[in-house]
Amino acid sequence: MNGWEQHLAVAPVALPLIVGAIMVTLDEQRAKLKAALGLASILGLLGIAVFLAIRLHVGIGPGIAVYRLGNWPASFGIVLMLDRLSALLLIVTALLGLAAQLYALPRWQRMGAHFHALLQFQLMGLNGAFLTGDLFNLFVFFEVLLAASYGLALHGSGVARVKAGLHYIAVNLAASLLFLIGVSMIYGVAGTLNMADLAARIPQMPAANRPLLEAGAAILGIAFLVKAAAWPLGFWLVPTYAAASPPAAAIFSMMSKVGIYAVARLVLLLFGTGTGASAGFGGTWLVAGGVATIAFGAVSVLATQDLPRLAGANVYISSGTLLAAVGAGQVGVTGGALFYLVSSALAIGAFFLLIELLDRGRDIGADVLAVTLEAYGEGEEEDEEDDAIGVPIPVTMAILGICFLCCALLLAGLPPLSGFIAKFAMLNALLNPAGLGKGPALIPWSGWALLIALFLSGFATILAMTRAGIRNLWATEDGAVPRVRAIEIAPILMLLLVCIGMTVAAGPVMRYMQAAAATLHAPQDYPRQVLGRTR
């Protein structure tokens, strides 16, 4: 990329920053103007992200673009580093941002102050975290996105939100301190914080310094795992996400993926193949932690009684699957995991939005009551009423039901939607490490553990989703049809349509994912691109 196009790499950070700053100066009466600005900004982000991804994918070379801020050479100045994975995550972030923005238009934007500005800063932090090529700058962007998320988590106020937010902020402040300890230890040992420079220096590092480096990386990893809500560091997630307003929860489904992204970046770049004595550091822990997170998620999915918590529990399963897949350290598994990441982030985002529409007009305790009734075997006989032939399902309920079905299929990974393709790709790569038809290979225990966990978690999810679907859509107690506006159902449909699109165009999308995974698994390309070329 050259000319004006190379400056596009900084646009995903600069655009929401500028728009957000303008929004702060506007007062709350100008909600329409703010909404228009926000929509324009997010649509711009989406366009830029798609453009960057296409340029990177069809271009020649290893698919890594570098943008030097202030044009200082790397390792003195801070660089932005764009590869296929970053570009992909920029697209997903923009899609979820768009959904949150559209969904907030009728109601939620008026439920508290500065929703639009917070959303822009949230997007800025997310995009920055995905783009940066410097560990300390990653910390700064983490803080930006967390600060915005504190505001978004509390959007709408109320006791439940403030109580959950208190825990959320405390946990994340503590995790940020761990982040700083890890970063400074790595700096103390390696003498640089530029990721590519680190990747170049770690293979040559003397053995005496390695324990300190690995300790630093492990502490840093714990900070990321807190954000990714890995077991046992993720108990904050369900209360926070379940209490958050739906548009905020939708964008949060991307926020937990930032932790995954950071872990993947760190593990594959600094401790990937060909990085000397530390290669493969942390892989076993990631697989074990990931499988434990999946197990915890599967149990929570079955145990939850209300829909928002069910969605939160699904985030655990998604995080665990991704962590274990990254820990497996195979190109094919990583490629499938990226597909899974996109599919599950979009599906969970859509599910968070959908839940509120389903919950609308029902009393809060209905879910708990329903499950309790089920447990005690009561309430079975009162269904025999005179509408045995049935009443026509209202159109709204039909659409909501179809959306729910799509979410269930995507989250559980059942055919025919993209969740299945992602899981199939991961399982295929796990069972045939050498490639399909290359003869039987020895599958490590971690592969089997992940395989079993994937199957069982899918089963638990479909069970829980079916139960929730029957209770909330098929056999509703009161039969009231929620009042839903088209603008509220549109973002859900959009997210699900993207997933369906990924299913239809699975070939090209999967090729992109595999190319992204191949770039990630070739860490020696990064120093060459980031440090080598001077303009």
């Binding site: 700064v140 967390l146 509390l154 006791v159 403030v162 208190l166 405390a170 301190l177 400074s184």
Partner: protein
């Protein structure tokens, strides 16, 4: 010097962690503040501390670059202090809101027994 600093960091971190486990929001925020002091000192110490080394210019010429303290951790610490200060202030606001809504200062929102 190293020993004094290590003990100081340990004391701050230890008391910070202990306070973090306490049930009152005031203890929580003091604990977080102490922890962040400990972490800031820790980052600072990662730049090594040459003692008695000349500043950038030694009398009558350039100083020896090898004896300077590393400026990068100092800039990192500055950023960390600013960010930590901002997030702590934000946390304080949320705590006040929680205090108002739950009428108690328990971190789980339970009223005082």
């Amino acid at each position: 010097m190293e020993l004094v600093l290590a003990i100081a960091i340990g004391l701050l971190a230890g008391s910070g962690v202990w306070l973090l486990m306490r049930p009152r929001t005031f203890q929580l925020i003091i604990g977080l503040s102490l922890l962040s002091y400990a972490v800031n000192l820790f980052i600072f110490s990662m730049g090594r501390f040459p003692i008695g080394a000349p500043p950038i210019l030694a009398p009558g010429g350039q100083g020896d670059p090898a004896s300077f303290a590393d400026p990068l951790p100092q800039s990192l610490v500055l950023t960390a202090i600013v960010i930590g200060f901002a997030t702590t202030a934000l946390f304080l606001v949320v705590m006040l809101a929680a205090r108002g809504l739950t009428r108690g200062d328990h971190v789980d929102g339970r009223p005082r027994q």
